[in-house]
């Protein structure tokens, strides 16, 4: 007796078989054809195709042609956007750091926290507390606020309400309403600056990196002693903003 029970294949694998076939052929196929080419039972494919059509994973083209669906494009572009952002951002981060001789960071959001995901250290002795991987609440930093800038007021307020924590130095703003307003203003200005009150403290000058839809994917920021930040303020702000723009345009999709 032949191995008749070993033929059942899960929905995911069947779906992928279909998507792969269409991707290879680069042409729409009929449902029937898909069944033949995959070797799957026709009934299986018909039901599955219908389900996938419903969910825009597939689309109809012409009379009975089945083709990949628009949903796949969304996923694909999102995947690529992130890849690209980080490759491009890293390059620009290094360039900027070398140019200015300052430490530059790339930060991204992770729920209510901000994570340092890239860093180019300056040559000098200046030590920054935050290393790659450091996670701090969004309300502690200029970058953190920018990362919420594109969200609608309600969402931003909610996230700040849930995640704002007093910082160790007690300097960080913790009031959700004020944070939310500040975040919006800074995001619109494409610039957030944080000076500590005490001398010799760390300052941070940050600009948002946005995708086509305007969402803030990451930030690029210069981290340096407050004194230097004050003395070269105009140049530094100009430079981070330029770098952010450079990264964004390097990703520019066709209109």
């Amino acid at each position: 007796m032949t191995d008749k029970t070993r033929t059942r294949v899960g929905a995911i694998d069947r779906s992928l078989q279909i998507l792969d076939l269409l991707t290879e052929r680069r042409q729409p196929m009929t449902a029937y054809d898909l069944a033949r080419s995959t070797g799957a039972p026709v009934s299986t494919i018909y039901k599955l195709v219908e389900e996938l059509l419903d969910r825009s994973m597939l689309s109809r083209i012409g009379e009975n042609g089945i083709w990949l669906g628009p949903r796949l494009m969304r996923y694909g572009l999102t995947y690529r956007a992130r890849m690209d952002v980080f490759a491009e951002a890293r390059r620009e981060m290094n360039r900027l750091s070398e140019n200015l001789g300052e430490t530059v960071q790339i930060c991204a959001r992770d729920e209510g926290m901000m994570t340092v995901i890239g860093m180019a250290r300056a040559g000098g002795h200046f030590n920054v507390a935050s290393d790659v991987g450091t996670r701090v609440p969004l309300n502690w930093t200029a970058s953190g606020r920018l990362l919420l800038g594109h969200l609608d007021d309600e969402t931003r307020l909610r996230i700040f309400t849930e995640s704002a924590r007093p910082s160790e130095t007690g300097q960080a703003e913790t009031d959700p309403a004020r944070l939310s307003r500040l975040a919006r203003e800074e995001f619109e200005a494409r610039l957030a600056v944080q000076m500590s009150a005490s001398e010799f403290a760390v300052a941070c000058i940050a600009a948002p990196i946005c995708d086509d839809s305007g969402a803030c994917l990451a930030t690029i920021s210069i981290v340096l002693p407050e004194t230097r930040a004050r003395s070269a303020y105009d140049e530094l702000t100009r430079e981070v903003q330029n770098s952010a723009r450079t990264i964004e345009t390097a990703l520019g999709r066709r209109g």
Copy 2:
């Protein structure tokens, strides 16, 4: 008693929930987080995530971050390539037709057949037999041969063997080996020309439209009386080839 049995959700829907969440957040999430956010049982999500990771629909980023997978990019780009090709090709088809005052067609392959998927008629009286939607065997036309040009010899030969038919006029080449060789040569020259033997007959001057990977997605061709084809041969071949290139570069991806 609560509605406890109505909670089961198919693998496809659960998968899409995951992909949607990641797409919205534009940030990696942990499997646990995905479970919370979707409201799905943790065990379900863990198993599903593992399966999707295996199949490159998801990828790991960092310690326990889950992100969209590269496979999605393949699908997405393939989807878009086709969209773009046809939008762009249609535009160029009209421009070329107007420019030359001749009928221009866009053709694509559908298994062993060629389908006319777009057409810009010339102003004059000249009548072409083939209208949009017309399907003929690949071996009948110059476009048909080009559409197989990028395939490896074996595949091309197989398709011709399976699908070649004598044409009504009996003029079409039907020998798979000769067809296959001709197709390759024409594809490499990026030009295929078909003149009928009899006077007043239809001639066709076609060029391939390829994607980044070199696959021939479609062809653009001028369809006109043989006499005109002969008298303006150089200009016409130059123009179709230029149009094909224009379409291709209009699609030019970065990198």
